[in-house]
């Protein structure tokens, strides 16, 4: 397994979160879609150096939790980021507060190159105005060069250096996911929300992703909240695990505590055959592991 190139990450993540106190807190967050409760009273705490994995069967509300944090869905309850309440704010404000997000189905602009796609995430940090684009070309070029450099660093980090000028539409699925993740990182967020980053990746790609997550965790410049199905990845990378089921948080704790507990195993096994074969396989693997 190749170790991802970590050089320059401190340049990308140039505003690490304040190490004292929790970074992101959810208290009693509930979301309902037309009468169906997708989330019921979810409470979570993510510290500035945590890598928290949310695990659980399909339909447990994992992605909805991420959506609620990003303000892509309306929720009731308290969501506090860096001590400020963010629930009810417009979504772009939350992003401006330092939240980066990747998605299950990577939403890229197919006609753009990989580099240009990553730069889409640099919107906030670029910060210049439209009038600048017309009249202050040098100013724009300077800002673009700065962010392009960070994009290059991230390209090396995720292993797509050779593809920087490829059209996103021509990429295989695994590469698209990596572009999405790199885009989430380019603005140097203080917390990364990753939605099933390993789904659709093959074994080698998953290994590389695991390396990346571990490196980010060890750099301690960004907190990570990741929704994951692959338990081996969770065990290797996560500092904390939150198990969810049917819109509620079952339990939280270290990976060993949660993944080996009876409550979690029965919750996952109880849903066996209902959907995600990866989760079933991973659950079986988890069971096999402690022999």
């Amino acid at each position: 397994m190749t170790n991802p190139c970590a050089a320059g990450l401190d340049e990308v993540f140039d505003r690490p979160p304040d190490p004292s106190g929790p970074l992101l807190t959810l208290r009693g967050v509930s979301v309902s879609f037309g009468g169906v409760a997708a989330l019921s009273g979810v409470s979570l705490e993510i510290g500035p150096r945590d890598l928290v994995a949310i695990v659980g069967p399909n339909g447990a509300g994992k992605s909805t939790t991420l959506n609620a944090i990003c303000q892509l869905v309306r929720s009731s309850g308290d969501i506090t980021l860096k001590g400020q309440p963010v629930n009810g704010r417009p979504a772009w404000q939350v992003a401006a507060q330092g939240v980066g997000r990747s998605f299950q189905d990577p939403p890229l602009i197919d006609h753009y190159t990989v580099l240009e796609n990553i730069l889409c995430g640099a919107h906030l940090r670029l910060g210049y105005r439209m009038t600048d684009q017309v009249f202050r070309r040098r100013h724009v070029r300077r800002r673009e060069a700065t962010m392009a450099r960070r994009a290059e660093i991230l390209l090396d980090f995720v292993g797509l250096a050779g593809r920087r000028l490829d059209e996103a539409g021509s990429l295989p699925y695994g590469a698209r996911k990596l572009v999405d993740i790199a885009r989430a990182m380019v603005a140097g967020p203080q917390i990364l929300l990753l939605d099933e980053p390993s789904s659709g990746l093959d074994h080698d790609e998953r290994g590389a992703l695991q390396g990346m997550l571990c490196t980010l965790r060890d750099e301690q410049r960004v907190a990570i909240l990741v929704v994951e199905h692959h338990m081996d990845l969770v065990r290797a990378a996560a500092t904390q695990v939150a198990a969810m089921q049917a819109g509620e948080v079952l339990m939280t704790g270290t990976p060993v505590e949660v993944l080996d507990s009876e409550r979690f195993r029965s919750a996952v096994v109880g849903h066996a055959g209902h959907g995600d074969p990866e989760a079933d396989g991973a659950a079986a693997f988890a069971v096999r592991e402690d022999r």
Partner: protein
């Protein structure tokens, strides 16, 4: 009182025309997800043909009607086969733009073939003269045609709901994958939907042209069908009929009690209000965007 009754009946007459046009557009929409902006031309062509052949005594009325409707039906089917099938991957508004292209082509062709004439179409079998009802005078022809369009619209809508063929058409429109797995030839149904939509427009055009004048401005009548569809619900067949009636009656009252200049403005303002308040219309289905 007499004025009110005249407006009401007149509104039904107009509404019948709109209902037929709206029915056609909804059918086409359920098939391919796009609106047809060439519907006005579908209305005009058979009316022109009948007018031209009646004036030059080239063919009997029945033949003109059949030929006219057959031609527009064929154009509708051909448009689906050649253009829309290829456009399946593209966003919905591409289909709209394609229908603009079709409208331009048909406009040009009709200009060359027919010029810019005014025709009055006569149906010899229809009752003529004047009917007195509650102190108001109505043209027997327009009453007959009103009844005809309404009955036809009801038959088509009812047929789609209650017959086996109708159910297949609705299924194909609602869930093409499921329908084709159930043995329904979805492509053929879509083609038939477009042909039927064109024919309905042609009938509406002929009916409208019989009570008014057939000239190139007939195409703008079809534009009123869009508010009708929106009020009734974009994908609802019953909604198209109801919406058509509502718009027709509304327009008749505006013409009588306000100013005929205001008809288009108020119709479309009403549509705008409905779109913002009830985007799914009276009978349509709600759409939820999920990330």
């Amino acid at each position: 009182m007499a004025q009110f009754l005249v407006s009401l009946i007149g509104g039904f007459g107009l509404g019948g025309t709109y209902a037929l046009v709206a029915l056609g557009i909804v059918l086409a929409f359920r098939a391919t997800g796009t609106f047809n902006f060439a519907h006005g031309e579908f209305m005009l062509f058979p009316a022109f043909l009948i007018g031209a052949w009646q004036t030059s005594h080239s063919a009997s009325l029945a033949v003109s009607v059949i030929v006219g409707l057959a031609i527009v039906g064929a154009i509708g089917a051909a448009f689906y086969l050649l253009v829309l099938q290829r456009a399946t991957g593209l966003p919905a508004f591409m289909g709209v733009i394609a229908s603009f292209g079709l409208a331009a082509v048909l406009d040009g062709v009709m200009l060359i073939i027919f010029g810019s004439p005014e025709y009055a179409i006569h149906f010899s079998g229809l009752p003529t003269g004047v009917v007195h009802l509650a102190g108001a005078r109505f043209s027997a022809t327009s009453l007959a045609l009103t009844g005809f369009t309404l009955v036809l619209a009801a038959i088509v809508a009812g047929g789609l709901r209650f017959t086996a063929v109708g159910r297949r058409i609705r299924a194909a429109g609602q869930d093409p994958i499921l329908a084709s797995q159930g043995g329904i030839n979805v492509r053929r149904i879509y083609m038939g939907s477009w042909a039927l939509a064109a024919v309905l427009a042609g009938v509406a055009g002929i009916a409208y042209g019989s009570t008014n004048i057939v000239d190139p401005s007939l195409t703008s009548v079809a534009l009123a069908a869009f508010p009708a569809i929106l009020i009734g619900g974009l994908d609802s067949i019953e909604g198209a009929v109801v919406g058509g009636l509502i718009v027709g009656i509304f327009q008749a009252f505006v013409a009588t009690y306000l100013n005929s200049e205001l008809i288009d403005v108020l119709t479309y303002t009403m549509m705008l209000v409905v779109m913002l308040a009830y985007p799914q219309g009276l009978f349509g289905t709600r759409r939820v965007v999920r990330v």
